[in-house]
């Protein structure tokens, strides 16, 4: 009944290193290596491919946050970690949809990931909060903030992009935007 998904698996430490270096190639290989496993899990437990995509991407985000926070100890196989996170996420989603979940059909070993899940949930909340705050901020503030803080553009570039007559105007604008964002983000 159970099929093992075979493919050339990148070494775990190679992946960790790739994550720390923001390597796109490693992300690509990680994704293609482990997505089938999650797809199998979800399809076999009342889900469809879109559910699998969501769950797997979330688990990768969990992995990235964990690795980048610097306290990642590889005390299990990466595969087991990802699988356990996905299983956990999927169970939670099934419960949220109040579907009948007696027992999930497992394909590999699992490890407890409760701590990671708690951290992830906190980060998830912050993420949603920020998303809402930025949406509320409106244009052009949103773009200025994103350009400066996310894309790391210089004030000079932003000044040219938005057609401000001098950099001071741009700086004033950025200051106002940031103040508003701070207000929305911390108050909500």
């Amino acid at each position: 009944m159970r099929k093992e998904i075979k493919s050339s698996v990148p070494a775990d430490n190679e992946i960790i290193l790739g994550i720390l270096n923001d390597s796109k190639d490693i992300l690509n290989r990680l994704y293609k290596t482990y997505f089938p496993m999650v797809l199998q899990l979800v399809l076999n437990n009342n889900g469809n491919e879109d559910d699998a995509k969501d769950i797997f991407q979330e688990s990768v985000i969990v992995l990235y946050n964990k690795v980048k926070s610097g306290n990642f100890e590889l005390n299990s196989k990466l595969k087991t970690f990802l699988y356990s996170v996905c299983r956990r996420l999927w169970l939670k989603r099934l419960n949220a949809q109040s579907r009948n979940v007696r027992n999930i059909e497992d394909f590999t070993d699992i490890i407890p990931v409760e701590d990671d899940m708690e951290k992830h949930e906190e980060k998830d909340r912050q993420f949603t909060k920020m998303e809402h705050a930025l949406k509320q901020l409106g244009e052009p503030c949103k773009t200025i903030i994103e350009d400066y803080y996310l894309q790391n553009r210089s004030m000079q570039e932003i000044c040219e992009k938005f057609g401000y007559t001098n950099a001071d105007n741009a700086k004033t604008q950025k200051y106002k935007c940031l103040q508003r964002l701070k207000k929305i983000f911390f108050q909500s």
Partner: protein, 362 residues
């Protein structure tokens, strides 16, 4: 406010690492001495940290979406999809064979039933309708040829393909017989005891009660008034009955008794009668000792002794009432006077003879 903008820019520069070492030292100095400034820095740092995390996640998701696009999800799905339970797999594997087998079985069953005439029989294979199958066709053809070369006769002399019995309903030429006797007929003739043949037409047929009403076409045909009447009430078990029919070319008398209130397989339309009947008796009258018609012979059980069946007389009356009187050329009036009561059986039969006909079907 001017000052606030400066401070923000300073912190941004600090976070981006754009400060020179002198400026950095100055910045650190100010943080340690001015708590308000320090709080400002911490708040700012916190916000920018959340912003960065947000940005990282957005970027990571978009990268993953790009990778996801490259994956052939449908192919993967086929590879990993849950295997259906054993019963479905067996069904998928063998459904074509099963369908063929079922078809063959059905053809075999229905073919056999059809070829053995199961569907052709009215009620059941255990029930035999008593019409006579006359299979001396060769003789009939010879007779026909002879007739043509001689002179035109009033009707064919040959005994048709099927034969049964019928009896008069009224003196003006209405005759009742079984529906199954005349079913599928091209033409129907009746022959009386004297050997005279008359062409008849079908007035009314009732397949459910197995009753057919015929009329002699000859307008001059007439009988003396009928000696018998039709019994309206049901007959009791043990009632002595007799019949006269044409199992061969001459009238044959048979005697018996009503043995059950219901007919074959509980059929309430008929009686079970213990009486010797043979092919050709179908449509014959069943009379009680007083000369009342109590039924009309229509069949017998194939593998049982002395189990013949007769349609109850009240269904004959019902059928007659169903005929629209307006559609009839002559009025169909049933006899109300019984002249057979009290006569000996031989005298009863003598009086009955002219009213009982052989029905010949072509």
């Amino acid at each position: 406010m001017k000052k606030d903008i400066e401070i923000t820019n300073l912190i941004d520069a600090y976070l981006r690492g754009e400060l020179s070492s002198a400026e950095l030292a100055d910045f650190q100095q100010q943080r340690s001495t001015d708590p308000a400034f320090d709080l400002n820095v911490v708040e700012h740092e916190n916000l920018v940290g959340h912003l960065t995390e947000y940005g990282d996640r957005v970027r990571l998701t978009s990268e993953m979406n790009a990778i996801h696009e490259e994956i052939d999800v449908e192919a993967l799905k086929r590879e990993v999809k849950p295997e259906p339970p054993v019963i479905y797999r067996l069904w998928n594997k063998y459904r074509v064979s099963a369908a063929i087998a079922a078809t063959v079985a059905m053809i075999a069953v229905f073919g056999t039933l059809f070829s053995t005439g199961y569907f052709a029989q009215g009620i059941s294979s255990n029930f035999t309708q008593m019409r006579r199958d006359i299979n001396n066709i060769k003789r009939s053809q010879n007779a026909l040829i002879k007739n043509i070369s001689d002179k035109p006769s009033r009707g064919p002399v040959n005994p048709g393909q099927f034969g049964g019995t019928g009896f008069a309903l009224s003196a003006n030429g209405y005759i009742v017989t079984n529906y199954h006797v005349i079913k599928g007929a091209d033409s129907v003739y009746v022959q009386n005891n004297a050997g005279e043949v008359f062409k008849v037409k079908q007035i009314y047929t009732d397949p459910t009660y197995d009753i057919a009403v015929l009329q002699i076409e000859d307008p001059a045909f007439s009988l003396a008034s009928l000696p018998y009447t039709f019994k309206k009430s049901a007959s009791d078990i043990g009632q002595s009955v007799y019949t006269i029919g044409f199992p061969r070319d001459d009238q044959v008398y048979g005697e018996g008794y009503v043995s059950s209130r219901n007919g074959f397989a509980g059929d309430t339309v008929a009686y079970q009668v213990s009486i010797p009947v043979n092919p050709g008796n179908s449509g014959g009258p069943l009379l009680d000792t007083k000369g009342n018609i109590v039924g009309i012979i229509n069949g017998k059980q194939t593998f049982a002794d002395g189990a013949a069946f007769a349609i109850k007389s009240n269904y004959i009356l019902e059928s007659i009432q169903a005929i629209s009187q307006d559609s009839l050329e002559k009025k169909l009036v049933l006899n109300k006077r019984n002249t057979l009561t009290g006569l000996s059986r031989q005298d009863q039969i003598k009086k009955l003879e002219p009213y009982i006909f052989m029905v010949k079907v072509y």
